[in-house]
Symmetry: C2
Subunit: 240 residues, 2 copies
DNA sequence: CGCGCTGCTTTTGTCGACAAATTAATGACA
DNA sequence: TGTCATTAATTTGTCGACAAAAGCAGCGCG
């Protein structure tokens, strides 16, 4: 039934009904319960969530803002389709933006921050050795790592764009396409290199490493997309 | 009364009432009729625009997405305040994003596109020679130039971010802070250099020029902000 | 005389219903 | 039988009203 919020970096579950519905709907979209391209019927969803159409519309509006829905004036909203082109565009933007974040973070990092990052990587490594398939938690660790660096860039607007507005979309890409064999361990190595560059306050190198890291992630995703071309996706509509 | 839409690159005036109100409200905010920090009272505005609160709320939601309003769960929405920090953050992001756009555009430019850009610059120059103070139209020409290059980057997501989501905010910054003496002519020169780099398909140089151009614009704005520190702003609330 | 409490006003969040518009369904016609 | 026009059924956009929460004023109390 997936009624548990369990949404990190999101507003508290009980702020308003609209926020609650927003969390529920994002989860439904990201998990694939609402398949890409599926039409969003307001009355159906409002009755499903037990709220009126007003808060549901607010949630839809917010999901459109976060690029999880596409809405055209009089037509129904539809769930975003993650085409290779779209994913590429998104990751190219991530590349320059997170590269910039890494550069600026390198100049502002405190010893405590470096220690925290090293700790994160230790946990990441442990999780990697312990489980072979828990991609979800691994993705969360990856997010923690990236978000921490972004936050240390000191650019609040950048933090908002990457950690808030595009958070769900990136999570959706990762959740659905980012289970490339062996990629996790290489990613960990890249993270470790990046932390060293940050520790040395080498903004130039940190930016370069981050850009390569994001570009490599994109290549992995595109490669796996190529491999699974025309693999039947057994996702169902909302009527579970 | 300023009921004329006159909003370039925006949706048609009559798509829905919410769109119309969105245009009206953005204009009111950008022009300064709604002063920064001013509270947005839904009922007052809905009666002012002659619509119900539903489409007004939709417009508010969209304006929050475009960063022209800040809204906290139960408090009233407030008009964004353009602090120097915020402007700096925005322009640093523009720098990397538009730099990237220029690089990619350099590789995709067609002869027609170069001709169009040269034509734009001729018009820009003519306008600059003709009028001494029409900053608004000059700003529009500047937008046309930047937007065209961004669009030729081929990255639709990037176009959406820069030409749609941040369009109004950038316009607001320009409208309120970008009338630095002599900056317009230097900006034109920088544009001309940029077009040459694009014509030569020198993506590396185009990116560098664009970044310098945006950074210079930011310096101009910050300088003028410094100069007018504590200058009384004679903006009034909505009750005109 | 300052501070906290109570009650009132204002404002947002939510609801149910109506109207316009789109989509589909049906039937007529070439 | 295929295509198009007309009509029925959804679905979105909009409205006015109610309820809950926040802000504000006046009052009592230490």
């Amino acid at each position: 039934m997936s009624t548990a919020p369990a949404d990190p970096a999101a507003e508290a579950d009980g702020a308003t009904a609209a926020h609650r519905v927003f969390d529920l709907l994002s989860e439904a979209i990201i998990s694939g319960e609402l398949a890409p391209g599926a039409k969003i019927k307001e009355s159906a969803l409002s009755s499903r969530f037990g709220v009126s159409r007003a808060p549901l519309r607010e949630a839809i509006r917010r999901l459109e803002e976060r690029k999880l829905l596409i809405r055209t004036p009089r037509l129904s909203a539809r769930v975003t389709e993650l085409t290779p082109v779209r994913i590429t565009e998104l990751y190219e933007i991530r590349e320059v933006l997170e590269g910039m974040a890494a550069r600026q973070a390198a100049l502002r990092m405190q010893p405590d921050d470096i220690a925290h990052l090293r700790d994160l990587l230790r946990q990441h490594e442990a999780a990697l050795n312990a489980t072979e398939d828990d991609v979800y938690r691994q993705g969360t660790a990856d997010e923690d790592f990236h978000f921490f660096i972004i936050q240390r860039s000191g650019n609040a607007t950048l933090v908002q764009i990457l950690c808030d507005e595009y958070y769900n979309l990136i999570r959706m890409v990762r959740r659905r396409h980012s289970r490339v064999a062996g990629r996790a361990r290489r990613a960990l190595q890249e993270h470790q290199q990046l932390v060293e560059a940050l520790a040395e306050r080498d903004g130039d190198f940190a930016e370069r490493l981050m850009r390569r890291h994001v570009a490599a992630a994109l290549r992995g995703i595109l490669g796996s997309l190529d491999a699974e071309t025309r693999t039947p996706q057994m996702e169902s509509g909302i009527a579970a």
